[in-house]
Point group: none
DNA sequence: AATGAATGAGCATTCATTCAT
DNA sequence: CATGAATGAATGCTCATTCAT
């Protein structure tokens, strides 16, 4: 990227400043969106929370909507880092670890998650951005993973597509009250306990077992 | 409610007319809310869809918000009829039947469900109305049911509260793409297949089993 | 238009009320536009001048721009009534009379004229609406009139198109200071004097000539 | 201005640079003003067209408005050079030549002309700057010229003030479609033809006459 | 002198609610 | 009861101007 004398530190600094500003705005917006909804949040409030003038928002985003899409994209990219190595998931511990990292992601970016989950429900573009490109990819990796383990005789012969969907539901739902702001953030230990309980519930149902009496 | 000579047919007819009007308005509003969101829907549109003048809405509801709460309440009452007889749930078939009736409820009142699920995310009053009074009651019945079956030695000893939450997630999530409008409505057969797959996944994991070799 | 029992007085009254409101708004807007320009006028001011709330404007016009187009259209229609009978223009008196009626039109609708003349300069849609459909029609009738009188030997052989353009300039220009608000409105006598001087200048030119027959 | 030992070449260079910058800005602004109107043009666009940063504009002009007044002034000064020698106008050829030089001026500074003509309509200061000081001076010279030729028996006895106004209209109007951007720029030959036709119409009128001496 | 990010007052437009008919 | 015109506060966004670098 940076070669020979085309290295321009001023430009790099500029880009960092822009990135910092965008983050500052998205953080402020996500807090408000997650508390009051997209339509219930005004640009005036976003600016005040981000500690800048209203017009400054528009130097970094072309519209209120663009801030929302920025949040969705950021969330999506974070999600992308989660499942790169699905083929390495072999034992119970690996799966628990993956689940826990998912929880961590949701919790770290709590307001982003809340915002995106809320908006995906009616905004078709956010739906495409996040679900089609993000969740669906996760889902397909999951289906492939399930299919392989069925072939290997480790899982019972279930419908991979439907099961993938159910599994994702199993893992997101325990977090819903937290995301909604009804429960307080779970501690690390609590998250671990939830992850283990969920994985065990899943495995004991889905794992093929030697016929009794063998 | 109406007894003896206080029976006044005129008044009853009046009440029925009022109820019919309210339903007409809530149906229209739910369609629009579920398509465009609460804030994205104008009272002018609701009136047009309900085939009446804008001002007429306010003879039956005190505000746009009141229409939303009416929808939430209605949904909640429908949910109440679902789990009256939790102690009768004994075998796999009973549970599958319950799950299927839940699916039917969501699908029948598709727009109501969509509206309420969307709005519960940020509106604290809807949250109280629906979740605290509706979902939580279901959840508690479910926990009690799980606890009893654990005591009876039919289920493994799991955490009833967490498991109840996971189970509800398992059952709602397969319906999400339908509720979101991404998938078409499943046929009766499809709903049955989903219900069976979900219950089997649940049972095979949660049911205690005789030790192998016995 | 109104036949048998399809006569609906209520609807007619409604239409009259709407027409009255639109006129009220266009009059207010034209005053402000002509004083401060289109962009220099706010909808708040228009509403205040028309003695109604800001939102009420939008029950009758879909945008500020639509008010402007309404004014242009109205002006255009008034212009249309001016030149129906160009073939009746025979002598000097007829022409003076036509010129005077033009002056009257401009003066009566002073603010409309000012508004349209100002806006036609940069707004292409107003240009089309007014010039292409209005002025151009007048111009063509004028060219035809000139051509006929040339054929009849009454006019010198001049270029009809160019001459029509020059003539229109001769008649509009004396009014410009009035339209611009620099001069006060001319009285009827003054308008008559201007009309006669202009027509004579057109017909005879400025150069002194020996009396015919001498 | 610069005499004796106060002559400072550095200062002169500085002034030339400032003058060049101001011209650069006014040219850019005039293009945009003439296309989109004063209010429709942003300082950001002016800066971009003039190939400099937005803030730089304010080193040379105190406001957007000041740029406009600069354009008006420049136009006015150019107009001043046109009529210095009105007493030399003697024959038809001289007048045609003057008319043609006017056309050339308008065409050369097309965007300046467009801008000023547009803005003079509502901006009182531009009106004063250009009309009162520029056009009115032309008009007075014209009136004096007419009055003298009447006295000399060369022109008919017409009202000099009104006639001056009409004449100016005759000469500007043929150019309006060009200024408005509806017609393409006329070639030199076309401009000459227009000038001749206009002057002849002015001198001789439109009415056919028996050839003198017949 | 040049820059361009920051500013915030000001704008056109929307829409839930009221109320005279 | 039903109507739909009137209301005006509130909104997202623009842009001339300033000023630290």
């Amino acid at each position: 990227m940076i070669k020979g004398r085309t290295f321009r530190p001023l430009e790099a600094r500029r880009e960092r400043r822009i990135a910092r500003r965008k983050t500052q705005i998205m953080n402020a917006a996500a807090i408000l969106f997650s508390e009051k909804g997209y339509d219930g949040t005004t640009t005036k409030e976003i600016a005040a929370t981000a500690d800048m003038a209203e017009g400054t928002l528009y130097n970094y985003f072309s519209s209120k909507r663009d801030i929302l899409l920025g949040i969705a994209t950021e969330m999506n990219e974070a999600l992308g880092g989660l499942l790169g190595n699905v083929e390495e998931l072999k034992g119970r511990e690996d799966i628990i670890d993956l689940v826990q990292r998912s929880f961590d992601l949701l919790v770290e970016r709590l307001t982003f998650t809340r915002t995106v989950l809320m908006r995906v429900w009616i905004d078709d573009e956010v739906l495409r951005e996040v679900v089609i490109e993000g969740v669906q990819r996760v889902s397909q990796q999951l289906q492939q993973f399930i299919a392989e383990l069925i072939t290997a005789g480790i899982f019972r012969p279930v419908d991979p597509a439907l099961t993938a969907r159910i599994i994702m539901g199993m893992f997101v739902t325990p977090m819903l009250p937290v995301l909604r702001g009804m429960d307080t953030l779970p501690t690390l230990e609590e998250r671990q306990a939830i992850a283990e309980a969920t994985v065990d519930l899943l495995l004991e149902g889905i794992r093929a077992r030697p016929a009794p009496g063998v």
